[in-house]
Amino acid sequence: MLEVNNINTFYGRIQALWDVCLKIEEGEIAALIGANGAGKSTLLNTISGVIHPTSGSITFLGQRIDGLPPHSIVELGISHIPEGRKLFTDMSVRENLEMGAYSSRVWKQKQETLEQVYQLFPVLKERAKQLARTLSGGEQQMVAMGRGLMSRPKLCIIDEPSNGLAPKLVTEVFEKIKSLREQGITILLIEQNVRHTLEIADHACVLENGRIALEGDCDELLKSDHIRKAYLGL
Protein backbone atom coordinates (compact mmCIF):
# COMPACT_ATOMS: atom_id res chain seq x y z
CA MET A 1 0.00 0.00 0.00
CA LEU A 2 2.75 2.43 1.03
CA GLU A 3 6.24 2.04 -0.21
CA VAL A 4 9.14 4.15 0.98
CA ASN A 5 12.31 3.74 -1.04
CA ASN A 6 15.75 4.96 0.02
CA ILE A 7 14.59 8.17 1.59
CA ASN A 8 17.14 10.75 2.73
CA THR A 9 15.85 13.69 4.72
CA PHE A 10 17.68 16.70 6.07
CA TYR A 11 17.03 19.40 8.62
CA GLY A 12 19.14 22.15 7.15
CA ARG A 13 22.53 20.49 6.93
CA ILE A 14 21.84 17.74 9.40
CA GLN A 15 20.74 14.50 7.90
CA ALA A 16 17.95 12.90 9.90
CA LEU A 17 17.07 9.92 7.68
CA TRP A 18 19.51 7.75 5.75
CA ASP A 19 18.32 5.49 2.95
CA VAL A 20 15.19 4.50 4.76
CA CYS A 21 12.96 1.87 3.14
CA LEU A 22 9.57 0.83 4.43
CA LYS A 23 6.67 -1.23 3.09
CA ILE A 24 3.20 -1.36 4.49
CA GLU A 25 0.58 -3.85 3.38
CA GLU A 26 -3.06 -3.03 3.22
CA GLY A 27 -5.02 -3.77 6.39
CA GLU A 28 -2.14 -4.28 8.76
CA ILE A 29 -0.84 -2.43 11.76
CA ALA A 30 2.74 -1.55 11.07
CA ALA A 31 4.84 -0.28 13.92
CA LEU A 32 7.88 1.92 13.96
CA ILE A 33 10.03 1.79 17.03
CA GLY A 34 13.25 3.42 18.00
CA ALA A 35 14.93 5.56 20.59
CA ASN A 36 14.35 9.24 21.03
CA GLY A 37 15.65 11.21 18.14
CA ALA A 38 15.98 8.14 15.97
CA GLY A 39 14.01 9.89 13.29
CA LYS A 40 10.60 8.29 13.65
CA SER A 41 8.62 11.49 13.58
CA THR A 42 10.81 12.74 10.79
CA LEU A 43 9.90 9.71 8.71
CA LEU A 44 6.20 10.29 9.35
CA ASN A 45 6.54 13.95 8.47
CA THR A 46 8.29 12.98 5.28
CA ILE A 47 5.50 10.63 4.35
CA SER A 48 2.78 13.17 5.04
CA GLY A 49 4.60 15.90 3.14
CA VAL A 50 5.45 18.25 6.02
CA ILE A 51 9.09 17.90 5.03
CA HIS A 52 10.39 16.78 1.70
CA PRO A 53 13.09 14.17 1.20
CA THR A 54 16.16 15.13 -0.78
CA SER A 55 16.24 11.81 -2.52
CA GLY A 56 14.31 8.59 -2.70
CA SER A 57 10.69 7.99 -3.49
CA ILE A 58 7.43 7.38 -1.69
CA THR A 59 4.53 5.69 -3.41
CA PHE A 60 1.05 5.33 -2.06
CA LEU A 61 -1.31 2.96 -3.87
CA GLY A 62 0.99 3.09 -6.84
CA GLN A 63 1.22 6.87 -6.99
CA ARG A 64 4.33 8.92 -6.26
CA ILE A 65 3.61 11.25 -3.33
CA ASP A 66 7.03 12.56 -2.36
CA GLY A 67 7.13 16.23 -3.22
CA LEU A 68 3.38 16.69 -2.87
CA PRO A 69 2.25 19.21 -0.25
CA PRO A 70 0.51 17.82 2.85
CA HIS A 71 -2.96 18.87 1.77
CA SER A 72 -2.73 16.88 -1.45
CA ILE A 73 -1.51 13.85 0.44
CA VAL A 74 -4.50 14.04 2.76
CA GLU A 75 -6.73 14.04 -0.29
CA LEU A 76 -5.21 10.73 -1.35
CA GLY A 77 -6.23 9.10 1.90
CA ILE A 78 -3.31 9.37 4.28
CA SER A 79 -4.08 10.83 7.66
CA HIS A 80 -1.31 11.85 10.03
CA ILE A 81 -2.08 12.18 13.73
CA PRO A 82 0.90 14.19 14.90
CA GLU A 83 3.04 13.82 17.96
CA GLY A 84 1.79 15.86 20.89
CA ARG A 85 -1.85 15.95 19.77
CA LYS A 86 -1.62 19.40 18.19
CA LEU A 87 -5.27 20.25 18.63
CA PHE A 88 -6.73 23.55 17.54
CA THR A 89 -6.89 24.63 21.12
CA ASP A 90 -9.32 27.51 20.73
CA MET A 91 -11.82 25.56 18.71
CA SER A 92 -14.48 23.30 20.15
CA VAL A 93 -14.17 19.53 20.08
CA ARG A 94 -16.70 19.39 17.30
CA GLU A 95 -14.92 22.00 15.23
CA ASN A 96 -11.67 20.15 15.69
CA LEU A 97 -13.28 17.02 14.42
CA GLU A 98 -14.83 18.83 11.50
CA MET A 99 -11.42 20.17 10.58
CA GLY A 100 -10.37 16.56 10.17
CA ALA A 101 -12.84 16.33 7.31
CA TYR A 102 -11.51 19.44 5.62
CA SER A 103 -10.27 17.65 2.56
CA SER A 104 -12.70 18.17 -0.28
CA ARG A 105 -12.99 14.42 -0.79
CA VAL A 106 -14.86 13.98 2.49
CA TRP A 107 -16.19 17.41 3.50
CA LYS A 108 -19.68 16.62 2.22
CA GLN A 109 -19.96 13.47 4.30
CA LYS A 110 -18.63 15.03 7.46
CA GLN A 111 -21.90 14.62 9.35
CA GLU A 112 -21.95 10.86 8.82
CA THR A 113 -18.30 10.48 9.62
CA LEU A 114 -18.79 12.50 12.75
CA GLU A 115 -21.43 10.05 13.97
CA GLN A 116 -19.05 7.18 13.35
CA VAL A 117 -16.31 8.89 15.31
CA TYR A 118 -18.71 9.59 18.14
CA GLN A 119 -19.52 5.91 18.22
CA LEU A 120 -15.89 5.07 18.55
CA PHE A 121 -15.29 7.72 21.22
CA PRO A 122 -18.61 8.36 22.94
CA VAL A 123 -17.08 10.76 25.41
CA LEU A 124 -16.39 13.20 22.58
CA LYS A 125 -20.06 13.55 21.84
CA GLU A 126 -20.63 14.70 25.39
CA ARG A 127 -17.82 17.21 25.08
CA ALA A 128 -18.69 18.39 21.59
CA LYS A 129 -19.02 22.04 22.58
CA GLN A 130 -16.05 22.20 24.95
CA LEU A 131 -12.91 24.02 23.89
CA ALA A 132 -10.14 21.58 23.09
CA ARG A 133 -7.76 23.40 25.38
CA THR A 134 -9.77 22.54 28.47
CA LEU A 135 -9.84 18.78 27.90
CA SER A 136 -7.77 16.36 29.91
CA GLY A 137 -4.80 14.72 28.28
CA GLY A 138 -6.62 11.52 27.52
CA GLU A 139 -9.58 13.30 26.02
CA GLN A 140 -7.29 15.39 23.90
CA GLN A 141 -5.68 12.26 22.56
CA MET A 142 -9.09 10.95 21.62
CA VAL A 143 -9.94 14.15 19.81
CA ALA A 144 -6.66 13.89 17.94
CA MET A 145 -7.42 10.36 16.86
CA GLY A 146 -11.00 11.16 16.03
CA ARG A 147 -9.90 14.11 13.99
CA GLY A 148 -7.46 11.92 12.11
CA LEU A 149 -10.26 9.51 11.26
CA MET A 150 -12.55 12.24 10.01
CA SER A 151 -10.72 12.30 6.71
CA ARG A 152 -11.80 8.66 6.14
CA PRO A 153 -8.22 7.64 5.63
CA LYS A 154 -7.03 4.51 3.98
CA LEU A 155 -3.78 4.80 5.89
CA CYS A 156 -3.66 6.33 9.33
CA ILE A 157 -0.33 7.39 10.76
CA ILE A 158 -0.28 7.74 14.53
CA ASP A 159 2.68 9.26 16.37
CA GLU A 160 3.11 8.31 20.04
CA PRO A 161 -0.53 8.24 21.07
CA SER A 162 0.15 7.04 24.61
CA ASN A 163 2.72 9.66 25.50
CA GLY A 164 1.90 11.18 28.88
CA LEU A 165 -1.32 9.27 29.32
CA ALA A 166 -2.40 7.67 32.55
CA PRO A 167 -1.98 3.88 32.51
CA LYS A 168 -5.68 3.25 32.28
CA LEU A 169 -5.97 5.45 29.19
CA VAL A 170 -2.99 3.81 27.56
CA THR A 171 -4.83 0.53 27.59
CA GLU A 172 -7.90 2.18 26.14
CA VAL A 173 -5.98 3.82 23.37
CA PHE A 174 -4.42 0.56 22.25
CA GLU A 175 -7.86 -1.03 22.23
CA LYS A 176 -9.13 1.73 19.95
CA ILE A 177 -6.25 1.26 17.59
CA LYS A 178 -6.99 -2.39 17.30
CA SER A 179 -10.61 -1.65 16.57
CA LEU A 180 -9.56 0.70 13.77
CA ARG A 181 -7.81 -2.12 12.01
CA GLU A 182 -10.97 -4.13 12.31
CA GLN A 183 -12.73 -1.35 10.40
CA GLY A 184 -10.28 -1.87 7.58
CA ILE A 185 -7.98 1.07 8.16
CA THR A 186 -4.30 0.45 7.65
CA ILE A 187 -2.20 1.83 10.48
CA LEU A 188 1.35 2.98 10.92
CA LEU A 189 2.03 3.36 14.62
CA ILE A 190 4.92 4.90 16.50
CA GLU A 191 5.27 4.09 20.15
CA GLN A 192 7.73 4.06 22.96
CA ASN A 193 5.62 1.45 24.67
CA VAL A 194 7.32 -1.26 22.68
CA ARG A 195 5.88 -4.36 24.27
CA HIS A 196 2.33 -3.22 23.97
CA THR A 197 2.94 -2.13 20.42
CA LEU A 198 4.51 -5.34 19.27
CA GLU A 199 1.61 -7.18 20.82
CA ILE A 200 -0.98 -5.47 18.65
CA ALA A 201 1.07 -4.83 15.49
CA ASP A 202 1.61 -7.21 12.60
CA HIS A 203 4.84 -5.89 11.29
CA ALA A 204 7.49 -3.58 12.69
CA CYS A 205 10.58 -1.60 11.78
CA VAL A 206 13.27 -0.50 14.16
CA LEU A 207 14.81 2.84 13.38
CA GLU A 208 18.17 3.68 14.88
CA ASN A 209 20.06 6.90 14.21
CA GLY A 210 18.00 7.60 11.13
CA ARG A 211 18.56 4.18 9.59
CA ILE A 212 16.43 1.07 9.53
CA ALA A 213 18.18 -1.34 11.86
CA LEU A 214 15.80 -4.22 11.88
CA GLU A 215 12.45 -5.18 10.50
CA GLY A 216 10.13 -8.12 10.44
CA ASP A 217 6.97 -9.67 11.82
CA CYS A 218 6.23 -8.76 15.36
CA ASP A 219 6.21 -12.30 16.67
CA GLU A 220 9.76 -12.73 15.44
CA LEU A 221 10.91 -9.36 16.63
CA LEU A 222 9.60 -10.09 20.10
CA LYS A 223 12.03 -12.95 20.17
CA SER A 224 14.97 -11.02 18.82
CA ASP A 225 17.78 -10.46 21.29
CA HIS A 226 18.42 -6.93 20.20
CA ILE A 227 14.82 -5.93 20.75
CA ARG A 228 14.60 -7.70 24.05
CA LYS A 229 17.71 -6.01 25.32
CA ALA A 230 17.39 -2.55 23.94
CA TYR A 231 13.65 -2.01 23.98
CA LEU A 232 12.10 -4.44 26.42
CA GLY A 233 14.83 -4.47 29.04
CA LEU A 234 14.83 -8.23 29.40
Binding site: N36, S136, L165, V170, A230
Partner: protein
Protein backbone atom coordinates in the same frame (compact mmCIF):
# COMPACT_ATOMS: atom_id res chain seq x y z
CA UNK B 1 11.02 16.56 59.79
CA UNK B 2 8.58 17.81 57.16
CA UNK B 3 10.60 19.68 54.61
CA UNK B 4 7.46 20.66 52.71
CA UNK B 5 3.88 20.91 53.87
CA UNK B 6 0.65 22.02 52.28
CA UNK B 7 -2.57 22.89 54.05
CA UNK B 8 -5.83 23.18 52.17
CA UNK B 9 -4.03 24.03 48.95
CA UNK B 10 -6.54 25.07 46.32
CA UNK B 11 -6.40 26.55 42.83
CA UNK B 12 -9.26 27.47 40.57
CA UNK B 13 -9.07 28.17 36.86
CA UNK B 14 -12.31 29.99 36.26
CA UNK B 15 -14.88 27.58 37.60
CA UNK B 16 -12.59 24.58 37.46
CA UNK B 17 -10.96 23.46 40.68
CA UNK B 18 -7.65 22.19 39.33
CA UNK B 19 -6.37 21.59 42.85
CA UNK B 20 -8.89 21.44 45.61
CA UNK B 21 -8.20 21.56 49.33
CA UNK B 22 -5.17 19.28 49.25
CA UNK B 23 -3.16 18.61 52.41
CA UNK B 24 0.19 17.00 51.92
CA UNK B 25 3.65 16.75 53.41
CA UNK B 26 7.07 15.64 52.27
CA UNK B 27 9.61 14.18 54.66
CA UNK B 28 13.24 15.21 54.43
CA UNK B 29 15.19 12.74 52.35
CA UNK B 30 12.33 10.74 50.89
CA UNK B 31 11.16 10.25 47.32
CA UNK B 32 7.47 10.99 46.95
CA UNK B 33 5.50 9.98 43.85
CA UNK B 34 2.62 12.12 42.66
CA UNK B 35 0.26 10.29 40.35
CA UNK B 36 -3.24 10.61 39.03
CA UNK B 37 -5.20 10.66 35.81
CA UNK B 38 -4.54 13.28 33.15
CA UNK B 39 -5.80 16.63 34.28
CA UNK B 40 -5.85 15.58 37.92
CA UNK B 41 -3.93 18.66 38.95
CA UNK B 42 -0.44 17.28 39.45
CA UNK B 43 1.39 19.83 37.39
CA UNK B 44 -0.77 22.54 38.87
CA UNK B 45 0.32 21.46 42.33
CA UNK B 46 3.96 21.70 41.26
CA UNK B 47 3.25 25.14 39.91
CA UNK B 48 1.79 26.13 43.25
CA UNK B 49 4.76 24.83 45.20
CA UNK B 50 7.26 26.52 42.92
CA UNK B 51 5.23 29.75 42.99
CA UNK B 52 4.47 29.81 39.28
CA UNK B 53 0.91 30.02 40.58
CA UNK B 54 -0.42 31.28 43.89
CA UNK B 55 -2.79 29.05 45.90
CA UNK B 56 -6.12 30.56 46.76
CA UNK B 57 -6.81 29.61 49.45
CA UNK B 58 -4.20 27.46 51.13
CA UNK B 59 -0.76 27.61 52.65
CA UNK B 60 2.47 25.96 51.61
CA UNK B 61 5.30 25.71 54.13
CA UNK B 62 8.91 24.91 53.51
CA UNK B 63 10.89 23.89 56.57
CA UNK B 64 8.09 25.26 58.67
CA UNK B 65 8.04 28.70 57.01
CA UNK B 66 5.13 29.94 54.95
CA UNK B 67 6.33 30.41 51.36
CA UNK B 68 2.99 31.08 49.75
CA UNK B 69 3.73 34.68 48.91
CA UNK B 70 7.19 34.20 47.46
CA UNK B 71 8.25 34.65 43.84
CA UNK B 72 9.56 31.74 41.76
CA UNK B 73 13.18 32.87 41.99
CA UNK B 74 12.91 33.20 45.74
CA UNK B 75 11.54 29.68 45.96
CA UNK B 76 14.54 28.47 44.04
CA UNK B 77 16.91 30.39 46.25
CA UNK B 78 15.56 28.81 49.40
CA UNK B 79 16.25 25.41 47.92
CA UNK B 80 13.36 24.14 45.84
CA UNK B 81 14.19 23.33 42.21
CA UNK B 82 11.99 21.86 39.52
CA UNK B 83 11.84 20.48 36.00
CA UNK B 84 8.99 20.86 33.54
CA UNK B 85 6.54 18.50 31.91
CA UNK B 86 7.30 19.98 28.52
CA UNK B 87 11.01 20.68 28.58
CA UNK B 88 11.94 24.32 28.98
CA UNK B 89 15.61 24.39 28.19
CA UNK B 90 17.46 27.39 26.76
CA UNK B 91 17.54 25.89 23.32
CA UNK B 92 19.94 28.29 21.63
CA UNK B 93 22.49 28.27 24.41
CA UNK B 94 25.17 25.61 24.79
CA UNK B 95 24.47 22.89 27.32
CA UNK B 96 27.08 24.18 29.73
CA UNK B 97 25.60 27.67 29.78
CA UNK B 98 22.19 26.25 30.56
CA UNK B 99 23.59 24.67 33.66
CA UNK B 100 25.82 27.63 34.45
CA UNK B 101 22.74 29.82 34.68
CA UNK B 102 21.52 27.45 37.37
CA UNK B 103 24.70 27.48 39.39
CA UNK B 104 25.10 31.26 39.09
CA UNK B 105 21.65 32.14 40.30
CA UNK B 106 20.50 29.21 42.42
CA UNK B 107 20.77 28.98 46.18
CA UNK B 108 24.13 30.69 46.30
CA UNK B 109 23.89 33.66 43.94
CA UNK B 110 27.09 35.28 45.11
CA UNK B 111 29.25 32.54 43.64
CA UNK B 112 32.40 33.37 41.69
CA UNK B 113 32.47 32.36 38.08
CA UNK B 114 35.11 29.66 38.59
CA UNK B 115 33.05 28.09 41.36
CA UNK B 116 29.91 28.32 39.29
CA UNK B 117 31.61 26.67 36.33
CA UNK B 118 32.95 23.90 38.51
CA UNK B 119 29.51 23.36 39.96
CA UNK B 120 27.96 23.29 36.50
CA UNK B 121 30.48 20.83 35.14
CA UNK B 122 29.93 18.62 38.11
CA UNK B 123 26.17 18.63 37.55
CA UNK B 124 26.68 17.72 33.92
CA UNK B 125 28.98 14.93 34.93
CA UNK B 126 26.38 13.71 37.40
CA UNK B 127 23.68 13.32 34.74
CA UNK B 128 26.16 12.09 32.15
CA UNK B 129 26.15 15.01 29.72
CA UNK B 130 29.77 16.11 30.08
CA UNK B 131 30.57 15.16 26.50
CA UNK B 132 27.86 17.42 25.13
CA UNK B 133 28.78 20.51 27.15
CA UNK B 134 29.39 22.66 24.07
CA UNK B 135 26.40 21.49 22.03
CA UNK B 136 23.46 23.86 21.66
CA UNK B 137 20.82 22.51 24.00
CA UNK B 138 18.18 22.47 21.28
CA UNK B 139 20.14 19.85 19.36
CA UNK B 140 19.90 17.29 22.14
CA UNK B 141 17.55 14.36 22.01
CA UNK B 142 14.51 14.55 24.22
CA UNK B 143 16.04 12.19 26.77
CA UNK B 144 19.13 14.34 26.99
CA UNK B 145 17.10 17.51 27.18
CA UNK B 146 15.31 16.05 30.16
CA UNK B 147 18.65 15.18 31.73
CA UNK B 148 19.82 18.68 31.05
CA UNK B 149 16.85 20.05 32.92
CA UNK B 150 17.76 17.87 35.86
CA UNK B 151 21.37 19.03 35.72
CA UNK B 152 20.29 22.66 35.57
CA UNK B 153 18.00 22.14 38.54
CA UNK B 154 20.70 20.34 40.49
CA UNK B 155 23.19 23.09 39.77
CA UNK B 156 21.06 25.43 41.86
CA UNK B 157 21.97 23.14 44.83
CA UNK B 158 18.43 22.40 45.90
CA UNK B 159 17.33 20.49 48.94
CA UNK B 160 14.02 19.62 47.35
CA UNK B 161 13.63 18.69 43.70
CA UNK B 162 10.33 18.51 41.84
CA UNK B 163 10.43 16.28 38.75
CA UNK B 164 7.47 16.53 36.34
CA UNK B 165 7.18 13.47 34.08
CA UNK B 166 10.87 12.96 33.69
CA UNK B 167 10.23 9.66 31.95
CA UNK B 168 7.41 10.47 29.57
CA UNK B 169 8.32 9.74 25.98
CA UNK B 170 11.45 7.82 26.94
CA UNK B 171 12.06 4.27 25.90
CA UNK B 172 12.74 1.40 28.13
CA UNK B 173 16.48 1.82 28.46
CA UNK B 174 16.20 5.49 29.05
CA UNK B 175 13.59 4.92 31.71
CA UNK B 176 15.90 2.56 33.50
CA UNK B 177 18.67 5.14 33.37
CA UNK B 178 16.36 7.80 34.68
CA UNK B 179 15.31 5.65 37.60
CA UNK B 180 18.92 5.21 38.44
CA UNK B 181 19.41 8.94 38.23
CA UNK B 182 16.58 9.64 40.67
CA UNK B 183 18.06 7.20 43.14
CA UNK B 184 21.45 8.86 42.89
CA UNK B 185 19.87 12.24 43.45
CA UNK B 186 18.21 10.91 46.57
CA UNK B 187 21.55 9.51 47.70
CA UNK B 188 23.02 13.00 47.52
CA UNK B 189 20.53 13.94 50.19
CA UNK B 190 18.08 15.76 47.97
CA UNK B 191 14.44 15.19 48.69
CA UNK B 192 12.47 14.37 45.52
CA UNK B 193 8.84 14.71 44.52
CA UNK B 194 8.13 13.16 41.13
CA UNK B 195 5.12 13.14 38.85
CA UNK B 196 5.10 10.10 36.64
CA UNK B 197 2.76 7.94 34.63
CA UNK B 198 5.38 5.22 34.30
CA UNK B 199 4.27 2.87 37.04
CA UNK B 200 7.36 0.79 37.04
CA UNK B 201 9.42 3.79 37.98
CA UNK B 202 6.99 5.04 40.56
CA UNK B 203 6.71 1.68 42.24
CA UNK B 204 10.44 1.12 42.26
CA UNK B 205 11.77 4.45 43.29
CA UNK B 206 9.22 6.05 45.57
CA UNK B 207 9.01 5.70 49.30
CA UNK B 208 5.50 7.07 49.36
CA UNK B 209 2.88 7.93 46.77
CA UNK B 210 0.19 10.60 46.69
CA UNK B 211 -2.71 10.15 44.29
CA UNK B 212 -4.71 13.08 42.95
CA UNK B 213 -8.00 12.90 41.11
CA UNK B 214 -10.07 15.86 39.98
CA UNK B 215 -7.81 18.07 42.06
CA UNK B 216 -8.41 16.12 45.25
CA UNK B 217 -6.15 13.79 47.14
CA UNK B 218 -7.81 10.39 46.94
CA UNK B 219 -5.11 8.15 48.29
CA UNK B 220 -1.71 8.22 49.93
CA UNK B 221 0.58 5.42 51.01
CA UNK B 222 3.43 3.09 50.19
CA UNK B 223 3.72 1.74 46.66
CA UNK B 224 2.22 -1.58 47.73
CA UNK B 225 -0.78 0.09 49.32
CA UNK B 226 -1.36 2.22 46.25
CA UNK B 227 -0.92 -0.62 43.76
CA UNK B 228 -3.62 -2.57 45.50
CA UNK B 229 -5.96 0.30 46.33
CA UNK B 230 -9.32 -0.26 44.72
CA UNK B 231 -10.00 3.42 44.09
CA UNK B 232 -6.62 3.96 42.50
CA UNK B 233 -7.04 0.96 40.23
CA UNK B 234 -10.44 2.15 39.23
CA UNK B 235 -9.62 5.76 38.41
CA UNK B 236 -6.04 5.47 37.35
CA UNK B 237 -4.29 2.17 36.90
CA UNK B 238 -6.99 0.24 35.12
CA UNK B 239 -7.24 -3.52 35.22
CA UNK B 240 -3.91 -4.24 33.58
CA UNK B 241 -1.11 -2.61 35.45
CA UNK B 242 1.56 -3.45 32.96
CA UNK B 243 0.98 -0.22 31.13
CA UNK B 244 4.18 1.49 32.06
CA UNK B 245 6.46 -1.34 31.16
Amino acid sequence: MHILEGEGVTKYFGGLAAVSNVDFYVEQGEVVGLIGPNGAGKTTLFNLISAALVPKPGIIKYKGKNITRKKPHQICRIGIARTFQTVKIFANMPVLQNVLAGSFFGTSPGMSSTDATREALESLEFVGLSDLAATPAGDLTLANQKRLEVARALATRPELLLLDELMAGLNHTEIAESMELVKRIRDRGVTVVMIEHVMKAIMNVCDRIIVLHHGQKIAEGTPQEIATSKTVIEVYLGEQTNAGS
